[in-house]
Assembly symmetry: D2
């Protein structure tokens, strides 16, 4: 019997609300020990002081620990928790639970496949540099192998959670005579996401190794992955990689597709991704029955560095009251909601080397 | 020769930037004395302390006064200045200059027609009540007559600028023994917009007179106009009404159409408005050449009072960092940008009785 | 041997940081079973979507549960957790742990005494009305009795945690034909705090029973307690009351005093409170050694409803980017930091009937 | 007859409110042609998109132009307009009008003296470097000479308005092969303020020339002026310098004094400045009659770069909802309001090399 990838999207009433995830276990549609990752959109600001992410991780972790009869640390070592803060505009807070069942039903066509892998621990000076790029590429290849996806063209979404530099970590490096890529904590988040995305691009053949060196990270936006989605977190010191693709070796009714938005209002790209996944997006917005087959839409949002969208000025970078990434998520959230007729969509900020400048990848998981 | 309605949309580099409007005069496409209204999206917060609106009015007013050889007060008494604050998400700050030329070219089909009218001055206790509803309805009828639009079905957009209650005005009413509809300045803005919108609905036959009384204003959201767009300003004590429609008596290549969004993500309604105006919206997003024919898109945005969009929770009302109307403009801005491929769109907040709860009117002006 | 009140203030590195409180147990200065309340300043916005409060309660609760060998619910039923969000300006996030030791050292003078009591559960329609006022007054009297403080003049601070109305609770009341004091969830927080504060005022003899009726709650700001500090939380349906005062029956080196700030910049009142507690505030700011004897300063902050401070306009009510209570905490935080030379001070917003309009109570706990 | 420095502080009802300044002319207390500078606190966010500053300049400029029978450009070339955005906490929006009367009354003691000077125009590559430092020092010396203040110890406040780098200016420099100090527009504001402050420090002998080079600007916070207050504006390409001090050659009843706050809560320093100016600050807060003699208090506010105030964590740098400088102004505003009992105080952010890290200069102008 083939393996089966499981994916359930449930609403969150607040960031500490583990009830809907627990209900999946109570309903028997997935078992706690099958869970390999939980992605979440929480209603914080998605920036430095967004504690809704940690709160969600703690609440989900305690719930899972109780269900598994283990402790919080064990759960967090085993289940990748990727919380993305910020549900601006109309976005609806939710959790996406991903699991693997060892003995699924056979499928007539390639089905959603899933692999998880980790890089080794990074010393602080590796972040935002080729060391992180190469290690991430290796982890992506390992996760592909684990998922049984030999061909990179069958990979449609790679979620990476990566470390950042803290003052303590930078001091530790300095004490050893090592120089970090930046001395700015906030900037290190972007560099770590960027190097991770370039690692994905390298593994998937989107960018050749020869085009990469330390100097391009965070600078040459022409180099990017159309399938990477990276987020940085203070709680880890290695990269966690979740690869999603399609494989004939997996069973069940789910499958995945993707496209690349060239800018923040690229509705046609969203429609291409929906169509590629088998949904009828012809008329502009998915009809309700098609929207119901959509399990999850995952995409990145980032203001264009030019300050323009198709030649017209946006004010995202100049607004000192609302962070630019919050504007970007609200905008892209409107575009993908227009396409799908739904608002419980995973729109995540911080898209360095994840799609072209001002654009980004969009992936969709559908039920057949 | 028929009259001709003129409409030019120009970008604003900042709220005090009158240069692009002045350039229209320098280029000779419109003359200062032809201008009857300027609508603007300025990059403030769109809420109480948004001074970008007054700054834009002052800058445009001084420029027009110099061009017309008159003073600021005369300009403001003659040109309706409707500034809408808030360019959240990807919205691009801009001004829309509306004018009337007495001797335009003939048109083969009904063309954009435009009428302006004013209510009498309101005492404070009239605001948010039937007195304001009825006076607004009368002004709409007068503006229609002035525009030569006998049939209400040919009216597609009615812009109303209306007063609000200040502490001073409320005190003056109290001193006379009169009771105002509210003692909350901020709430008075919504009531004034709401009563004005119901006045439009009454004039256009969207709501029967018998369904209206003081008690429904700001309460019965089932009563609304699908063509009203109202904004409240502290600087006036009467309603200013601009009616836009199509008329066989007018010339030129512009025309207007509208539709009603039933909620904030109603892309199909936006597409219906675009199609009704003769643009090819079939494929989801306007092709670039069609987008170039779009002169202006004007719509309203407001969070649904239920806290839900198609059954899914939104966080707009609960966010104490970003005002709910800012979230709503960003969201709807994403939806209309998805439809048009443009971001210089007039998305305005505060939609009481202007479209259904959580939705709103969308109007488009196109070049034939 | 007399009872002894314990009070320890520790810093919080983030809202979920229970480590410094746990360290108190490890150091043996207080035992988990001695803890009766934890007050905290967390770094959220202090408004509707401030999840830092719930996160702190969850983190502290899990830690205490592990230390006490019990579960979260038992801990929360036994220890009053009062989290106040918002550390604007220079305020420093911290927790204040309050405990009772049954067998403390004797004291030469009246020492800090502490009593905890609860009202019965409130039906929704009781909130913000005399039923809540009277029940709170009874709970204050019970807590005084428990603390062995017969004379209300020896009470210097009363912390109340009170319920609020949710949509569900209002619907339940309506279904029974009962009318609540408001149909606005946010407004219910102020009414519940206000009625609770008037209950404290009644119990302490600050306001006569005859001056009180349902109509004064949230309206007549001339009625207030100079010693109440109230906060509303969604998680409870009764009032929790913690009374702090001085009593000759208690031992240890701590004592408490208070004063009432007549407006937000009333430095002399803060100095009077410090002096009354035995600190030398003569020179303007406490010298470092005196500041070291200060265990905790607790006060309320609220913008004056007039929009003025000593006749000069403040912009707190008109700022749509920063909530008025955030401005007020930052301002009062500056004033009390000026007086004490410290920033780890408990400045809490929402001061309805807690001190005069625009002012509020200030209490200080000192080590002898 | 001696020259006389004039200083009047008037409230602003909104950023475009020139009425109270105009009323000074109507009352005859100062003549339009005597005005040399207007400093203002406007109620914007004080950051990038704070248009309240430009709005105030435009409104005051148009009013002055009408009074002087000239045009806006002439007024702006003649009167230094220094608008500081941000009235967080309890700060009250106001304008401070400074003027010079050629024939004032004699004074028994040294009186407030005032000089204005300008640097030459700066090429973009000079900003934030020694070229700007040296030119500013020369302008300070010239303004001192003009004011008749030979001894730097008699200078108590130097207001500098300085340019910033825009994308256009940077491109112009690049085209000539010149490299600017930064390629970040926002960062250029801090560098320009910092170099200007070091120029003041150099002129006043606070820092020796030998300690200065390009590398210390924006880096070595141990170098600073205790009397400089600098703000950057996009509208100028040279530095404008206003020197305030005391001189026996000037008449009238005004005088000035200053002190340096070592951190944001340094109440004793504020009290020293007040005392040095002859006000009785002994009891903690100025009595009302003494507060009435205070014409203006001007100070700088900035979060400490360490993230600590006297060893306790502040959250200013980590708050992605409220800019750090907004927190700092609110905090310092509370401290100086505590000292003076007033809220119409000029607390300005961005204190690079203006006072020690986290602290800043505080100057007071009093009526004798």
């Amino acid at each position: 019997m083939p393996r089966q990838a499981l994916a359930f999207l449930v609403p969150a009433r607040h960031p500490g609300d583990a009830a809907a995830v627990a209900a999946l276990f109570d309903q028997g549609v997935i078992r706690p020990e099958e869970v390999v990752a939980i992605l979440g959109k929480t209603e914080g600001n998605g920036c430095v002081n967004d504690f809704t992410r940690a709160y969600a991780v703690e609440a989900l972790g305690h719930m899972l620990a109780a269900r598994l009869g283990t402790d919080l640390a064990t759960v967090l070592g085993r289940v990748a928790m990727v919380m993305s803060g910020g549900t601006e505009g109309g976005l609806s807070p939710h959790f996406l639970v991903l699991g693997v069942r060892p003995d699924g039903p056979p499928a007539p066509a390639p089905a959603l496949a899933l692999g998880v892998a980790f890089t080794p621990e990074f010393p602080p000076e590796a972040l935002g540099r080729m060391a992180q790029v190469d290690a991430t590429a290796a982890a992506v290849r390992e996760a592909m192998s684990q998922a049984g996806i030999p061909d990179a063209r069958d990979v449609h979404y790679v979620q990476v959670k990566c470390p950042l530099l803290t003052s303590e970590r930078m001091a530790e490096a300095r004490a050893r005579g090592a120089a970090c890529a930046t001395d700015d904590t906030y900037a290190s988040m972007g560099l770590s996401r960027g190097a991770s995305a370039l690692g994905v691009a390298l593994a998937l053949g989107e960018v050749p190794r020869a085009a990469l060196d330390d100097g391009v990270v965070g600078r040459d936006w022409g180099l990017f992955s159309g399938r990477a989605s990276c987020s940085a977190g203070v709680e880890l010191t290695r990269n966690e990689v979740v690869v999603l693709g399609n494989s004939p070796d997996w069973g069940g009714a789910l499958s995945i597709a993707h496209a690349v938005m060239r800018d923040a209002i690229d509705l046609p790209a969203v429609q291409r991704a929906l169509s590629a996944a088998g949904l009828d997006a012809g008329a502009g917005q998915l009809p309700a029955e098609e929207a119901g087959r959509l399990v999850a839409l995952l995409c990145k949002a980032e203001p264009s560095s030019s300050g323009l969208i198709r030649g017209r000025r946006h004010i995202m970078w100049d607004d000192s009251d609302i962070n630019a990434t919050r504007h970007a998520r609200a905008l892209v959230g409107g575009v993908v909601a227009a396409a799908t007729g739904r608002t419980d969509l995973f729109v995540s900020g911080g898209a360095e080397h994840q799609g072209p400048d001002g654009g980004g990848p969009v992936a969709v998981i559908v039920r057949g």
